[in-house]
Amino acid sequence: MARFVAIRLARALLTIGMVVTFAFVVLRASGDPARAMLSPETPAAAVEAFRKAWGLDAPVGVQYARYVLAIVQGDLGQSMRDGRAAITVVAERIPVTLMLTGPALALNLLLGIPAGIYAALKHGRLADRLVMAIAVAGFTVPSFVLGLVLVLAFAVELPWFPSGGAGTLRQLVLPVVTLGLGGAAVLARFTRSAMLEVLGQSYIRTASAKGVPWRGVVTGHALPNAAIPVLTIVGFMVGNLIAGTVLVESVFSWPGVGSLLVVSVVSRDLAVVQCILLVVAAAMIVTNVSVDLLYGVLDPRLRDASYPIGGA
């Protein structure tokens, strides 16, 4: 167990290190923050002063060392735009984003998994083909296209929902649907194939031969086994959701971490961008560890240290 934790911890640190470096390199390579932040008419002396104030005049190596050192000490820097601590700027946006991703994840799971199970149980019939056709359509349409179509349909043509902004429940509907539908489609397809695989297993026949009613065979024997591969995909979904947030928040002008990221990148607000990337990396790491631990809960074979995995 200690070995397991140590390995996971080392891997998490490595990931964070890579994210930090990546953010630094990409943002430094793509332009001068002083030029991006300040207006073109700013006098050269003022630009110099800005550079000096933010440590941008030092050699790149020194900047990187200072930056890493600061992070290790827990200092994520200040936003160049409003001078507040970057962490504060990001932290106030996190709940706003969670208000979007939380319901979207729920939509993923609550729509995708039951649809997949339903299709598997109706395998080969019209219902199965219909659900799968919708699913294929669902994940081939990119979320920004879906978002725009939804806005046109339900905000412009039929003014049922507002086309943007945050605060009311009605404003939540379109972005959540946009963000959640694609993932639900992927999950539906995956759940279906996992279920079909499990339903073909010998232990399902055993359960029927024991006289377990079909409903019980599905809930008691098929679902717990199909949950194991589905969990893997749910892990990926979280990653997709985070990526999708950036786009969807921009389309619906949702004031979350995603739109903050876009603004900060455009204005080269290094500290904030780096802080966001760190938060995202941390979220991914937490997700992966949770998925690994959940595997152990779902699959007793993985709990058991003496069970060979793909032995000789």
């Binding site: 690994d292 152990g296 993985l302 069970y307 032995g311 000789a312």
Partner: protein, 332 residues
């Protein structure tokens, strides 16, 4: 034993490292443990044993497909070269291996004829037309028709596929062919066809064979000599009629009495071994068989018995047999 055996193995050891569970603790498993044997030219050695006894690993070691961790193998008087070596590739023409699943051993995208010609092409044997003739001869030799050469693996039945695999193995006229459960996946009526074919082929070609199977009845049908394996070691070895009629090792006795025989009626006199099949990852001290042995002595838990001559060309690894005084106490 004859002056110069075709194949001689001394003290073979093969270990595997398995990684297990979420926390992935590596465990070392000894699949083969200081095993020695030899095969003469034209001789068929049958290796029998239950799952996990190391018989398949032994087969792969002897065919040179994987290296032993220690011990030596010599083939035709020379040590077996390491994989990847030019000499190792040449050796592929002289030792061939046949596995249980013929469909897995064949490439579904190539015709049977192309696959039989492949070893000839790789080793640049004969001209193009000579190769085509050779493929036809081989197909007929294994009981297929020349026109089967134009078919794809999925167009043949299981028995025909195994014949095709044999034809490919025979293409280079090997001196030794190692068969690992070659008929286990086949139905009884087809199994008999393939066994007969193997018996004919070794007769006609004077080729040595190592025949590995869990089925004593099949092994006996084809072998000149048999070796019974248990947890990585040979426990008894000798003439099939001797070993199967009058087994000396308690494990051979149990194994043979467990074989169901049609027409023998409801036999109640057999020795049913208690306990589970052995786990190579938790090998008992002393004689590996002692926890399940109905006649174990205290010494069996302490000391592993050596494979010792028991007369009439038979070797047995058992303290009881040695104690009975019949063993001439000379290690072969």
């Amino acid at each position: 034993m004859m002056a110069a055996p075709l194949l001689r193995a001394e003290g073979l050891v093969r270990r595997y490292r398995l990684r297990q569970g979420v926390f992935r603790h590596p465990v070392t498993v000894k699949a083969v443990d200081s095993l020695s044997l030899s095969v003469a030219r034209g001789e068929t050695l049958g290796i029998v044993g239950e799952s996990g006894c190391g018989k398949s690993t032994t087969g792969r070691l002897l065919a040179g497909l994987e290296p032993p961790d220690s011990g030596t193998i010599s083939f035709g008087g020379e040590p077996l070269p390491a994989a990847g070596h030019a000499r190792w590739r040449r050796l592929r023409t002289r030792i061939q291996m046949v596995f249980q699943d013929p469909l897995g051993a064949l490439d579904r995208r190539l015709t049977i004829g192309e696959q039989i010609a492949e070893p000839l092409e790789i080793h640049r044997l004969g001209s193009k037309s000579e190769r085509a003739d050779r493929v036809k001869t081989l197909l007929v030799d294994v009981g297929l028709r020349p026109d089967h050469g134009a078919r794809y693996p999925h167009e043949l039945s299981g028995g025909q596929r195994q014949r095709a695999v044999l034809a490919r193995a025979l293409a280079t006229d090997p001196d030794l062919i190692v068969c690992d459960e070659p008929v286990s996946a086949l139905d009884v009526s087809i199994q008999a066809q393939v066994i007969n074919l193997l018996a004919d082929l070794k007769e006609q070609r004077r080729m040595a064979m190592i025949f590995i199977s869990h089925d004593l009845r099949v092994v006996r049908q084809i072998s000149d000599r048999i070796a019974v394996m248990y947890l990585g070691v040979i426990v008894e070895e000798g003439d099939p009629n001797l070993v199967l009629r009058d087994p000396l090792h308690p494990y051979s006795q149990a194994l043979i009495s467990a074989v169901p025989t049609p027409g023998a009626g409801r036999r109640r006199d057999r020795t049913v071994l208690q306990g589970d099949p052995p786990n190579p990852a938790a090998r008992p001290r002393g004689c590996a068989f002692h926890p399940r042995c109905p006649a174990a002595l205290p010494v069996c838990a302490q000391l592993a018995p050596e494979l010792t001559s028991a007369g009439e060309g038979r070797r047995v690894a058992c303290h009881l047999v040695e104690a009975a005084g019949e063993g001439r106490k000379e290690t072969v």
